[in-house]
Symmetry: C2
């Protein structure tokens, strides 16, 4: 269907959806591209361009129906369904993500947890039991998951990635600081918190001289 959709557009659609759902909770009604842009910290033209890539959802002179548009954006992003997710790596970060309510609310359900640490295997985490990474292929196939969250050490990430791909996973949310090599048709999203702090460090070091006043 729609081609040439940039990553920035996708990120903005996520953001629009978050805003629209907040508006929905506050009563709904209609919203203009100007309103949405203000909330999303972008321009009205940008909002309209982003949406126009997928269809005509507004009414000229009126704006967009909040609830309608929210549903449309959910459909575009593929969020009108549940996603079964595997968590590989039961360390501190993995454990925090397992409890993270925002994933579940959005329909991402962690249905299985794996680790290679014998002291963790067998632990009960809520409804699930931590499985051994040695059984990864079987566990992932049995659990019927399509997405894997990797919170393993950088050194293990590539090997685990290959294993989850072998088990049929097509989407990976990668927390390991490693450039994963995956076959065509498999998608990787990296979350690199150190990189974000480094970007802050750069900004603080280079983009500002004096405190307070910006060099616009």
């Amino acid at each position: 269907m729609s081609r040439k959709v940039s990553d920035s557009t996708i990120r903005r659609l996520s953001l629009y959806l978050r805003i629209l759902e907040a508006m929905e909770r506050k009563g709904g009604g209609t919203v203009s591209s100007v309103d949405l842009a203000a909330a999303a910290d972008t321009t009205a033209a940008q909002v309209r361009k982003d949406l126009s890539l997928f269809g005509s959802f507004g009414k000229r002179g009126l704006g967009y129906q909040v609830a309608d548009l929210a549903r449309q954006v959910r459909d575009i992003l593929g969020l009108s369904r549940r996603w079964r997710v595997a968590l590989v790596g039961a360390g501190r970060i993995g454990s925090a993500l397992f409890e993270y309510e925002s994933f579940r609310r959005r329909g991402f359900e962690i249905v299985t947890v794996l680790d290679n640490d014998a002291s963790k295997v067998g632990q009960r985490w809520g409804e699930v039991e931590v499985q051994d990474t040695a059984d990864l292929d079987r566990v992932l196939r049995d659990a019927d998951v399509e997405v894997a969250i990797l919170t393993v050490p950088a050194g293990a990430a590539q090997e685990i990635a290959e294993q989850v791909v072998g088990a049929g996973i097509r989407g990976i949310l990668n927390f390991a600081p490693a450039q994963l090599r995956v076959p065509d048709g498999v998608f990787v999203q990296d979350v690199n918190m150190v990189m974000e702090l480094e970007a802050l460090s750069f900004d603080l070091t280079n983009r500002v001289a004096s405190a307070g006043r910006s060099t616009e």
Copy 2:
């Protein structure tokens, strides 16, 4: 000094640095833009353009001295120093980040932790004691921090952001799903894990039809 540096360039510099440091550990020597590009999954021209924004670090016919270039990139990113960091929000994610060794290794030191939950205030976390958010201004000034990591609920994020800015913080790593409004001269980096999963969901829904074969 150097103007017009894009966010993508900064992200790539972080990546180059990670790769260079791995090479350093394996012995160092020299590296060409072709090698670096292969490891960073980009092009040689891109590597040279990125670096050329900040100076001439290579030797024609030879390439770059690994250890030298690593040091240069660290300087560019402002990583040749320690950064004192405050963690606001002592929940699951905050606690995982507090233990996260990669921050410390990179020179980001969490020197104070705050929360508004009375049951958490006073807890000992390693070397530090969890402080009350009510005392945020005093605590942050006493601790002499420049960067804050926010792992608070979305609803509280804007208010906390204003408080940390008021206390003199100029860099915020924001984990809350909220668009923070901050004055000029303050930098915000968002980490939004739900958004990353939503991007994966989009890819899996729209960018692939059959399993395995890509539509290149």
